[in-house]
C-alpha cells in the first residue's frame, strides 16, 4: 500500500511542540511534505533560528517516528530548516545518533525525556485549568469541582484534551477518578482548589502566550498571515 500525503499529515498532526502543547501542523511548522512511493521527505521550520535546540530536536525526532508509523512508509527524512543547530540536528537524525550523540558534551544528567515530562506536566496543569474554567463559567463552584469525578464532567473537546494529557502522564483516567488532581495524581483538597487553579492559570497563560508569540514570529519570518489573538 502506498502512503498518501493525507495519511502522513495526519500522523504529523500527532506531533506536538512540547512547550506550546499544540500540533506542529497547526503551528505551521511543517514547511514542505513530499511523498514518493515509500519515501517521505518533510521539511520543518521554526519561529526563530534561536528556538531551543532541545525542543527542536524532540520535534524532528517525533516527526520521524510519526511518519515511519504510517503504513507503507519505509524511509523518512526530516530536515530542519534555518536553525542555528540545523547542521547538527539534520546530520544526527540522518545518522540516527540520538540526542546525546548529536550534541556530544552539551548534555548532562537527566535525559531529554525528563525535560519532556516537565512540559507534559505543565501541559496537563494548563489543560486542567482550562477545563475547570469552563466548568466554573457554567456555574459550578470550586467546592463542587473538588468533589467532581471525571464521569460527571460533560463531554467536550476541552475534556478530551485534558484526558489525553492526563493519560500521557500515566494518571488515572477511569470514570470514577477525581477531576482535580496534581501532576502526580494526588487529589487537590477542597480548601486548596482555588489556589491550585489560580497558579495553574499562570501556567496556562505562559503556554498560550508563548504559542501566540511563536505564531507571530513564524508569520513574520515566513510571510504568512498572523492568526488573531486567541487567549481570552
Amino acid at each position: 500500500m502506498k502512503p498518501t500525503e493525507a495519511a502522513v499529515l495526519d500522523a504529523l498532526s500527532g506531533v506536538r511542540d512540547p512547550e506550546l502543547d499544540e500540533p506542529i501542523t497547526d503551528l505551521k511548522f511543517v514547511a514542505d511534505l513530499q511523498v514518493a512511493d515509500d519515501e517521505v521527505d518533510v521539511r520543518l521550520r521554526l519561529p526563530t533560528p534561536f528556538c531551543a535546540p532541545n525542543f527542536a530536536y524532540l520535534m524532528v525526532a517525533d516527526a520521524k517516528a510519526a511518519v515511519l508509523s504510517v503504513p507503507g512508509v519505509e524511509r523518512a527524512r526530516i530536515i530542519l530548516d534555518d536553525h542555528h543547530a540545523s547542521p547538527e540536528i539534520n546530520a544526527g537524525m540522518a545518522q540516527e545518533r540520538g540526542f546525546e550523540g548529536t550534541f556530544p558534551g552539551d548534555t548532562e544528567g537527566e535525559s531529554l525525556e525528563e525535560l519532556r515530562t516537565i512540559f507534559r506536566r505543565k501541559a496537563f496543569v494548563a489543560r486542567q485549568e482550562r477545563l475547570c474554567r469552563e466548568l466554573l463559567a457554567a456555574g459550578r463552584s470550586a467546592k463542587e469541582l473538588a468533589r467532581m469525578r471525571l464521569e460527571e464532567v460533560p463531554a467536550s473537546e476541552t475534556k478530551e484534551k485534558y484526558l489525553s494529557r492526563r493519560e500521557e502522564l500515566g494518571l488515572d483516567t477511569c470514570p470514577e477518578a477525581p477531576l482535580v488532581v496534581d501532576p502526580d495524581g494526588n487529589p487537590v483538597p477542597e480548601g486548596a482548589v482555588v489556589d491550585h487553579l489560580r497558579f495553574a492559570r499562570l501556567t496556562r497563560l505562559s503556554i498560550e502566550g508563548n504559542a501566540g508569540m511563536c505564531r507571530g514570529l513564524l508569520a513574520t519570518r515566513y510571510g504568512i498571515p498572523d492568526p488573531e489573538e486567541a487567549t481570552a
Binding site: 497558579f199 489573538e229 481570552a232
Partner: protein, 344 residues
C-alpha cells in the same frame, strides 16, 4: 516626562541598547541569525508606523537614539543594558564601552550598566572592578545564554558567578539585571529556566535581581520565585509590546504580576531599538485591563506611574521632579499562601 488627562508620569526606560549588528561587525552566521531574530521580534510586535528597514535596524545612529528616546519618546532616563556577544560580533554587539560613549556625552540622560562573565574567573573580577571604577556602575546586565568558546551558557549557581556577585556587593553594584534567554547548555535542560535566580536572590538579599522579560515564557516559574524573594523584580522588556498585538495576553500578564508580586516591583522598558518608547508609553498610559477579566484589579494612574518610572528611580536613586506624585510603596507581598511549587 509624559502627561495625559492631567496625570504626569516620570519615565525611566529600564532597558535600552546602542548596538552594532551590521554585516561588517558580524563575526559569523550566528551574528546574522541573532540580529535577524531581533528584527523578527521588532517586525512581529511593532505597529506598522514604527517599523524600520532592516539596514537601519542593524545599525542606527546616535541621532536616531536621542530622538526616539528623549525628543519624542518621553523618556527622562534610560538604562543601558549591555549585551556583549563577542563570539558573534567582531567588536561585540553592545558593550559597556560602546554604551559609555553616549553616557559620557549625555551624562544626565543615561544610566550605564556593566556586565560580567563568570567564566572569565579572576580576570572577570578585575574587569568588573575596572569598569566600576571607570564608570561608577550601579547595575550589571547578565546574559546567562551567552556563548563563550565551547560553552553555550552559564548559571547564577556557578561558583564563579557567586564570586562575581560578592564583588558586586563590595563595589556597590546593587542592581543585577538577568536576561533569561534561549540556547543554554546543557541542552537537556529548560532553556528559560529561572531557578538559578532563586538561589542567587536568597544568597544575596542586599542585591536586587531584575528578571528581564519576566522569565517569559516561564511566567509561572518567575512568579513563584518573586513571591518568595522580595528582592526579585519584573523587567518588562519584551512583555510591553504585547499591548499592541496581543492586548488580552498583556492584560493577563499585568493582572498576574500585580497579584503575585505587587506594583512596586514592575519596571517599564522598551528594549530599544527593538521597540520604541513613544508608542509603548502612550499605549501603556491608555491601557486598561478589560472589565470582563474581573479576576484582576484595574490599573490606576499611580500603578502606571510606579511601573513607568518611580520603581526604577528607587532602585537607581534617581531624583524625581516634585511635580510627579509619589505614591507610597505597598507592603511587600500581596499573598502568602501558595498551594504548590510550579510544575517541574
Amino acid at each position: 516626562m509624559y502627561e495625559k488627562d492631567g496625570e504626569k508620569y516620570f519615565v525611566v526606560d529600564g532597558h535600552v541598547h546602542f548596538w552594532d549588528g551590521s554585516p561588517e561587525n558580524q563575526a559569523n552566521i550566528h551574528g546574522k541569525q541573532f540580529i535577524d531574530c531581533f528584527y523578527g521580534y521588532h517586525s512581529a510586535l511593532s505597529p506598522e508606523e514604527y517599523l524600520w528597514p532592516e539596514e537601519k535596524f542593524q545599525k542606527y545612529s546616535e541621532e536616531d537614539m536621542m530622538h526616539d528616546l528623549f525628543e519624542i519618546g518621553y523618556v527622562d532616563k534610560a538604562i543601558f543594558q549591555p549585551t556583549y556577544l563577542k563570539d558573534f560580533y567582531v567588536n561585540g554587539f553592545n558593550t559597556t564601552e560602546q554604551d559609555a560613549v553616549l553616557k559620557e556625552k549625555y551624562p544626565d540622560k543615561f544610566i550605564l550598566n556593566g556586565s560580567f562573565d563568570p567564566r572569565s574567573g579572576e580576570q572577570g573580577l578585575e574587569y568588573l572592578e575596572e569598569l566600576t571604577n571607570r564608570y561608577s556602575l550601579k547595575g550589571v546586565k547578565l546574559y546567562t545564554a551567552e556563548w563563550n568558546g565551547q560553552s553555550k551558557g552559564w548559571s547564577l549557581k556557578d561558583e564563579w558567578a557567586k564570586r562575581h556577585l560578592e564583588k558586586c556587593e563590595e563595589l556597590g553594584i546593587k542592581n543585577i539585571h538577568v536576561h533569561k534567554g534561549p540556547t543554554i547548555t546543557p541542552l537537556n535542560k529548560d532553556a528559560f529556566d529561572v531557578a538559578d535566580v532563586d538561589e542567587a536572590a536568597s544568597l544575596f538579599p542586599n542585591l536586587n535581581f531584575i528578571v528581564e522579560h519576566i522569565g517569559l515564557p516561564r511566567l509561572e516559574d518567575f512568579c513563584w520565585i518573586a513571591v518568595q524573594e522580595p528582592n526579585v523584580y519584573a523587567g518588562m522588556a519584551v512583555a510591553m509590546p504585547f499591548m499592541h498585538t496581543r492586548p488580552k495576553y498583556f492584560a493577563r500578564i499585568m493582572g498576574e504580576l500585580l497579584y503575585w508580586l505587587d506594583e512596586d516591583r514592575i519596571l517599564f522598558a522598551s528594549d530599544y531599538a527593538i521597540w520604541q518608547p513613544k508608542w509603548l508609553v502612550e499605549k501603556f498610559v491608555d491601557f486598561q485591563i478589560p472589565e470582563e477579566m474581573d479576576e484582576y484589579d484595574q490599573l490606576t494612574p499611580d500603578i502606571k506611574r510606579k511601573v513607568l518610572g518611580l520603581n526604577a528611580a528607587r532602585l537607581y536613586d534617581l531624583e524625581v521632579p516634585s511635580e510627579i506624585p509619589q505614591p507610597e510603596a505597598v507592603a511587600a507581598g500581596s499573598e502568602d499562601t501558595y498551594p504548590e511549587a510550579p510544575v517541574r
